[in-house]
């Protein structure tokens, strides 16, 4: 059991950041908030440093692509975990397609280094200030960001699934 509830956590967060934290939901009991890229490092470092909350563990950084939402196409998502209080929080930041820049979280957690490289590799999110932002999993000479919706998932070189092989 968590030592603090989502309500107490949300109260602390809104008391600290007020209107900079929006769109509060808790799907499946996981408190989820949205903030801006100007605020994200402040939010993360406050969560980590706060003497009561102690969100000392960065579980993951990932991204999501919604090409249909104008101006908020790319979302960067942070999962942080308070090992002391046994509670998690998810923080989202949405960015516009043409301006996918966000400050790096390596200033708060060194472990964010590879997570941000992975997010850059698959979604093309540019983490400004990252010490070594290059591809981590895909081949170095790849030119696309494969998890973006505009890129086909299937390999275009594949010929054996063409329709004419199946009389279509």
């Amino acid at each position: 059991m968590s030592k603090i509830t989502n309500e107490e956590l949300l109260q602390r967060v809104t008391a600290q950041f007020g209107k900079n934290v929006t769109n509060v939901t808790d799907p499946y009991g996981l408190l989820t908030v949205e903030t801006s890229r100007e605020q994200i490092i402040d939010v993360l470092s406050w969560l980590k440093a706060d003497a009561q909350l102690q969100f000392i563990y960065l579980t993951d950084i990932t991204a999501i692509h919604y090409p249909e939402i104008e101006g908020k196409e790319v979302g960067v998502i942070y999962h942080v975990h308070s090992l002391v209080n046994n509670i998690r929080i998810r923080i989202k930041v949405f960015l516009a397609e043409g301006d996918v820049n966000i400050p790096t979280a390596t200033t708060v957690w060194n472990g964010a280094n590879w997570m941000e490289r992975e997010t850059y590799d698959f979604f093309g999110v540019n983490f400004t200030g990252h010490p070594d932002l290059r591809r981590i999993l895909n081949v170095d000479d790849m030119t696309v960001y494969p998890m973006r919706k505009e890129f086909p998932l299937e390999d275009p070189n594949r010929v054996d699934k063409k329709d004419y092989f199946f009389g279509r």
């Binding site: 895909n138 081949v139 494969p146 890129f151 086909p152 998932l153 299937e154 390999d155 070189n157």
Partner: protein, 180 residues
């Protein structure tokens, strides 16, 4: 008498005290029953290969007792499993390090065509980067199928000319892959 079967002599001219055949056939026979395979196993087909090498199926019966884990000494490259695009240069390097004569066997759907992994990160068949002699279908193929593929390699070895590497077709094939 033992019931162990011994390979027949190649066709030739036989008389009292002598036997004459062409060097091609004699060398082909010797090569085909002493192939040193290099297992390049990356996933589940590699598990089937382990069964193929083990006592039940015993690939050693066909002369492949000695697996070579150095490409320099290997005759046959057996590629078993999914090859990601990041692995492709590694596979190509291994092939380049092998000395002629060399043969390549693509075992399983992934090595042959990419299989179910029709995706941005997986090589759609190893024949995109290196020439392949025999394809073994299956996902994964049973050990019998791998042995069948191996026997087909042996047939190739027996019937090909002694210096395949000098033939214009082979050189054109390698040139297609950018290999000199």
């Amino acid at each position: 008498m033992s019931d162990i079967q011994i390979v027949d002599a190649p066709p030739g001219v036989e008389g009292a005290g002598f036997f004459a055949t062409s060097l091609d056939k004699a060398v082909g026979l010797a090569r085909s029953y002493s192939l040193w395979p290099l297992p390049f196993a990356t996933s589940c087909c590699g598990i089937e290969f382990m069964a193929t090498m083990a006592s039940h199926y015993d690939l050693s019966r066909f002369g492949a007792e000695r697996l070579s884990f150095s490409p320099r000494q290997a005759d046959l490259l057996m590629v078993m499993g999914t090859i990601s695009k990041k692995m492709a240069p590694v596979l190509r390097q291994v092939y380049l390090q092998m000395a002629e004569p060399r043969w390549v066997m693509a075992v399983g759907a992934c090595a042959s065509s990419g299989g179910i992994f029709d995706t941005y990160s997986v090589l759609q068949g190893i024949d995109e980067v290196i020439p392949v002699d025999v394809y073994v279908p299956g996902c994964p193929p049973r050990p019998e199928a791998i042995i069948d593929g191996f026997i087909n390699i042996q047939k190739l070895v027996q019937t090909e000319s002694l210096r395949r590497r000098d033939t214009p077709e082979y050189q054109a094939l390698l040139a297609k892959y950018g290999i000199l």
